[in-house]
């Protein structure tokens, strides 16, 4: 990566044009294709309901209730992050700031705007949740 002079880092506000990275082996293989081996290996689409044995049959309604309470709370939390500035902590000590847009239903990808990266501000971006360790914002 080209390292520009120190003073050039100050002018990060101008969005950079979208970079077209080279294509991977498949037509859709930038890591988001659900059929790619990488996706299958790393990203389960969702956590399944626990397998119910005979002894657990009466636990199922309780589990479903707990699940819906937790999920509703989480969705409200996501609703409140919308359009706020968040800081993403990713692997390899990457910390980037962006404005949260939306999440998909399985929490696999986040859509963000104005992503501040070392190579400039990306106007719109999709962040893979598998790459994120945590993110934070002020409520």
């Amino acid at each position: 990566m080209l390292i520009t002079g120190g003073n050039k880092r100050l002018n990060m506000a101008t969005p950079v044009s979208v970079l077209r990275l080279p294509k991977g082996p498949d037509p859709n293989s930038r890591g988001f294709d659900p059929k790619s081996p990488r996706f299958i290996a790393l990203c389960r689409t969702s956590i399944p309901t626990s397998a119910v044995s005979e002894a657990d049959v009466e636990q199922l309604p309780k589990e479903q209730h707990a699940r819906s309470v937790l999920r509703e709370s989480f969705l409200r939390c996501l609703l409140s992050v919308t359009n706020k500035k968040v800081q993403f902590h990713m692997y390899e000590r990457v910390k980037v700031e962006a404005t949260f847009g939306a999440s998909d239903i399985d929490v696999m990808n986040f859509q963000v705007s104005d992503l501040h990266t070392p190579i400039g501000v990306q106007k719109e971006a999709l962040i893979r949740c598998q790459d994120v360790i945590s993110f934070s914002f002020d409520a």
């Binding site: 969702s46 956590i47 626990s50 636990q59 309780k62 589990e63 479903q64 707990a66 699940r67 309470v69 937790l70 999920r71 709370s73 989480f74 409200r76 939390c77 609703l79 409140s80 992050v81 500035k85 902590h89 692997y91 239903i105 399985d106 929490v107 949740c129 598998q130 994120v132 360790i133 945590s134 993110f135 934070s136 914002f137 002020d138 409520a139």
Partner: protein, 221 residues
């Protein structure tokens, strides 16, 4: 690399809620805070730190808005990155209440019945002025047989299974001019958010084929 956190299940996760926890994530990240919820789909933890309390490890922030009377910094730790979760302490009643009300939509004071009635009439008049078929159904407004508006008749109170109608009616209500006086006669075609030649009935009939509808509209120009 995943620890068992993601496999615990909702019944175990809910036991951690409203407790102060310490979470180790990724290689060397550590987060502390009150656990608000755990997403059952991704096992992600939502940790809240109130900035006016002295919580160990709480992050100071520059911009914070009020959350239920205080300021809070929220960290969401993705389930797949969690290494270890440790409970530090239980929340007292006050903190629990504060946590649970942090993200609820702000509850406005309940309106008196006459105010509700006036409001309902106002919204109904606005919809009728915009050529939207609306009926009063007890306390609710029934729009075009496909959408219901409950008290207090704001855009968020619209309920429908049809996304297009929902969007249109929400925008319409949002653009309603504030508090039109009851005695004035507003002009019939007052700033309709819908184009004047596209009554919502046509929209319902053709909502299953929106591309056809749009092409018809453009050919009329």
């Amino acid at each position: 690399m995943q620890c068992g956190w993601s496999l615990l299940g909702p019944l175990q996760w809910i036991r951690y809620v409203n407790k102060q926890v310490k979470v180790k994530a990724g290689k060397d990240e550590e987060h502390r805070g009150w656990l608000l919820t755990v997403d059952p789909v991704s096992a992600s933890l939502v940790l809240v730190n109130f900035l006016d309390q002295d919580v160990g490890g709480g992050r100071a922030s520059v911009q914070a808005q009020d959350v239920g009377g205080g300021r809070a910094s929220v960290q969401v730790v993705m389930g797949h990155a969690v290494q270890e979760v440790q409970v530090l302490q239980e929340a007292d009643q006050e903190t629990t209440e504060r946590l649970q009300s942090s993200f609820l939509p702000p509850r406005s004071r309940p309106l008196a019945p006459e105010q509700l009635h006036q409001r309902r009439a106002g919204v109904r008049r606005w919809l009728e002025q915009n050529r939207v078929p609306v009926q009063e159904d007890g306390e609710e407004l029934l729009v075009a047989g496909a959408l219901t508006i409950t008290a207090p008749y704001g855009p968020e109170d619209c309920c429908s299974s049809n996304q297009i109608i929902l969007d249109r009616v929400q925008r319409l209500i949002q653009s309603q001019p504030a508090e039109p006086p009851i005695h004035s006669t507003a002009p019939p075609n007052h700033s309709a958010a819908l184009p004047a030649d596209q009554p919502i009935q046509r929209l319902i009939q053709s909502h299953t084929a929106p591309p056809a509808d749009q092409s018809e509209r453009s050919s009329c120009d």
